[in-house]
């Protein structure tokens, strides 16, 4: 086995912005070749103490469309209830063996199932018992400050109060989804900073997308 080199490669420069409080924080995630990485989750956890307590109810949605989980990656704050509607006209059987929240939603259709509460931080890998290729991730973080990169590899975190933070990067291509290295960052008033992060990703046997080919494998 090769030596794992997962995690954040480097933290580079910070930019100050002149915007008013609270500040917006921007992270740019690239792979080893310098290409932008989508579906990476960047979260900031205050170094000084726990994040502000979560109040009220929060809901998120993990849909199933065209026999795929949409979105593929769903970051939520601890205590969020996630709805699992099924937009396909066939049944799905959502399950997870992940330790933060093992659960199972046996064959169902539409919006008939109750939302699932994710009250522990960590990664929940979602699967469908009848469609091997279906794969989704719910990342539960203990902070309100998180964002997911788009196709441009940029994740923008708004309304982050100035202060000392630890920046975490998560991606399903990490060698070990449980191990996230932290990068200390400082968020200042009226400043917009871009955090550049490099990540080494590993290919996955399952892409989470429906196979385009029909028929057998040739045998």
């Amino acid at each position: 086995m090769r030596k794992p080199t997962a995690g954040i490669a480097a933290a580079l420069s910070f930019f100050l912005t002149t915007a008013a409080l609270p500040a917006a924080f921007e992270a740019s995630v690239k792979n080893e070749k310098g290409a932008p990485v989508a579906d990476a989750v960047v979260s900031l956890v205050p170094s000084t103490g726990p994040a502000p307590a979560f109040e009220g109810e929060s809901f998120a949605v993990m849909d199933q469309k065209g026999m795929e989980f949409v979105p593929k990656v769903l970051p939520v704050r601890t205590g969020t209830r996630v709805r699992f509607p099924n937009s396909d006209n066939i049944l799905h059987h959502v399950y997870s063996f992940s330790s933060p929240k093992p659960f199972e939603l046996p064959l169902y259709k539409g919006k008939t199932v109750d939302p699932v509460l994710f009250d522990k931080p960590g990664t929940v890998v979602l699967g469908c018992n009848i469609h091997d290729w279906m794969l989704g991730y719910i990342l539960i973080v203990d902070t309100p400050y998180f964002s997911k990169t788009g196709g441009d590899g940029l994740a923008i975190l708004r309304d982050v109060p100035p202060g000392e933070y630890k920046a975490y990067l998560w991606h399903y291509g990490l060698k070990d989804l449980k191990k996230m290295e932290a990068v200390p960052v400082k968020v200042i008033e009226a400043g917009n900073r871009t955090l550049e992060l490099k990540v080494r990703l590993y290919p996955k046997r399952i892409t989470g997308r429906m196979p385009q080919t029909h028929g057998g494998t040739g045998y």
Partner: protein
């Protein structure tokens, strides 16, 4: 006959034919038999090579398919939701028993669950083994490269397995499910049923090269074939002839994509002897045909030889008989071919000889033997030559009158008795009876063959005839027949001797004065004046070398002759 220094001698034509026939037939048969053998072996070798080369590709596909099937079966199991639950449940005993259940489902020999870090989570064959590194880290690493799994040959405690690794997805990659299928002699035997070839699995030996790990052959044989193949420098996919256990095999290394440490290759082999077995019966039949053909050839040769030599023996026998004078013998060959013609010619020749012999015989009876010889020995043509001969005439006195008194039968008896006796004396003394003129005899001495003592022989003949007459008369007296009286005249002179007559009928005779004189002298014996029974001329006495008792009778005139000649009465030999 010299054949490569071997001297073969035949005292019989039959044996010679027999010998060459057999040599020829045997050579042809042996050549045919040998070439059949060579061609059969070569064709069988070629056929097996082609079969093996095609079979190797099929075998490769079969092995690949087998791997795909094993992979598919393992993958199906890996997707089992209940098993995934068990995995997450973490109860080791349950996991082992679930794995065992899966192992039975797909017919694997061993099943393991190995973590992504190459730690054995559960092993059906070694339930207590937990947390130890697996024996096939390279395969685990290879499987992890693309997360798709892998397959390879692994050695676990001396047992060789084909290990198929598939990922346990729950729903993402969590562990490796490893299904091991034994590569053993039983597998080789199973594969032999479909490939119809002996199957040998070779594993790479620690010191390089290959050693047998499973085979339809005994183990040391599987090792040997590896050495022999290496020595023969065979390439995978190309069939080779190898000598093993006193048998010839065609062997081929099944081509494979990668060969490295821990690799296994498959060798297919077919025994030439086994492949040739169906042809052994054919060969036995050919051998029987060969023997039958040889026997037929012997009989044929004997028959042909006999058909040639039998008539030849008959001809030889015929020739021998003819040599002994048996001209009546005819060779019996009832054939129309060349030998029949030869026999026919032979018989014709015999008939010719017989006819000639008869003529010879008859001639001797009609003419005297000397004349017959002369006639047969030279060309018979008219004409003559002058020869000095002595002529003898002999006549019976008053025979005509006598014959009138006797029966014809008695006359013939007396005449034949008399003439036979006299003729014998003449011929014994080298004389030739020229002709009988009734009871008169004309004899010649000196023609056709000249003798130095012709005159003496004539004189002696006359004396012997005289003596013989006494004996003849004694015989006649005993038969109460009258006695005969005989007068004889002898003269010597030059005459013309030769074939006289016409071209179609001629006589060898002598003519001339000498003849007439002799006849005249005979007539003189009738004269009482001379009282002589045998009168000879002076010419004859002059020619004679011996001495005779003679009585001069004076000069006599011979009819038709002017001069006289001295004549004598012959009394006997002078002692």
């Amino acid at each position: 006959m010299a054949a490569r220094g071997i001297e073969v001698k035949f005292n019989s034509f039959r044996n010679r034919i027999l010998f060459y026939f057999l040599v020829l037939v045997t050579a042809v048969q042996v050549a045919g038999f040998a070439s059949f053998d060579v061609i059969l072996k070569r064709n069988t070798r070629d056929r097996i090579a082609k079969d093996l080369e095609a079979g190797a590709v099929v075998f490769r596909n079969m092995l690949d398919d087998r791997t795909v099937l094993m992979t598919s079966a393992s993958t199906m199991l890996a997707g089992d939701f209940a098993f995934k639950r068990v995995f997450f449940e973490g109860d080791h005993g349950t996991m082992i028993s679930a794995l065992e259940n899966h192992r039975r489902r797909i017919g694997a020999n061993v099943m393991l669950l190995v973590s992504l870090e190459n730690r054995v989570v559960a092993d059906t064959s070694r339930p207590r083994l937990r947390g130890a590194a697996s024996e096939f880290p390279e395969l685990i690493w290879k499987a992890g490269e693309d997360g798709a799994g892998a397959s390879s040959i692994v050695n676990i405690g001396g047992q060789i397995y084909q290990m198929v690794i598939v990922p346990l997805l729950a729903p993402d990659l969590r562990a490796w499910i490893c299904s091991g299928f034994l590569v053993d002699d039983a597998l080789a035997r199973r594969l032999k049923k479909t490939s119809l070839s002996d199957v040998i699995f070779h594993g790479s030996a620690p010191g390089g090269g290959w050693r047998g790990i499973a085979s339809t052959f005994p183990r040391e044989f599987a090792d040997n074939i590896s050495a022999v193949l290496a020595a023969a420098g065979g390439k995978p996919g190309k069939a080779l002839s190898v000598e093993l256990r006193n048998d010839e095999y065609m062997a081929i290394v099944v081509p494979q994509e990668e060969v490295g440490a821990g690799a296994v290759r498959v060798v297919l082999a077919r025994s030439l002897t086994a492949e040739l077995k169906p042809y052994l019966r054919l060969r036995a039949a050919l051998l029987a045909l060969f023997v039958l053909g040889l026997l037929g050839a012997v009989l044929g040769a004997v028959w042909i030889a006999r058909s040639v030599t039998k008539p030849v023996s008959l001809l030889v026998e015929g020739a021998r008989r003819i040599g002994r004078g048996d001209y009546e013998y005819a060779v019996k060959v009832d054939r129309t071919d060349e030998i029949g013609e030869l026999a026919e010619s032979f018989n014709e020749m015999t008939r010719g000889l017989l006819e000639r012999d008869r003529i010879h015989d008859l001639l001797g009876k009609v003419v005297s033997r000397e004349i017959a010889k002369e006639l047969l020995g030279s060309k018979v043509e008219l004409g003559g030559e002058e020869r000095e001969v002595t002529i003898l005439f002999s006549d019976l006195r008053a025979f005509t009158a006598l014959s009138e008194r006797l029966e014809a039968k008695q006359v013939v008896l007396m005449l034949n008795t008399y003439l036979s006796k006299m003729t014998a004396i003449i011929e014994n003394n080298g004389g030739v009876v020229d002709k009988y003129i009734g009871d008169e005899i004309m004899a010649i001495f000196g023609a056709p063959i000249f003798h130095e003592n012709d005159a003496d022989m004539a004189l002696r003949t006359a004396l012997e005839m005289r003596h013989a007459l006494g004996e003849v008369n004694a015989g006649f007296r005993a038969l109460n027949l009258p006695e005969l009286e005989m007068g004889t005249g002898i003269n010597t002179g030059v005459v013309v001797a030769g074939n006289i007559g016409s071209s179609s009928r001629l006589n060898y005779t002598v003519i001339g004065d000498g003849v007439n004189t002799a006849s005249r002298l005979q007539s003189l014996t009738k004269s009482a004046e001379y009282s002589a029974k045998t009168i000879v001329s002076e010419a004859t006495l002059k020619k004679a070398r011996e001495k005779y008792e003679t009585r001069p009778l004076g000069a006599a005139t011979v009819k038709g002759k002017t001069e006289q000649l001295q004549i004598y009465a012959l009394e006997g030999f002078r002692r």
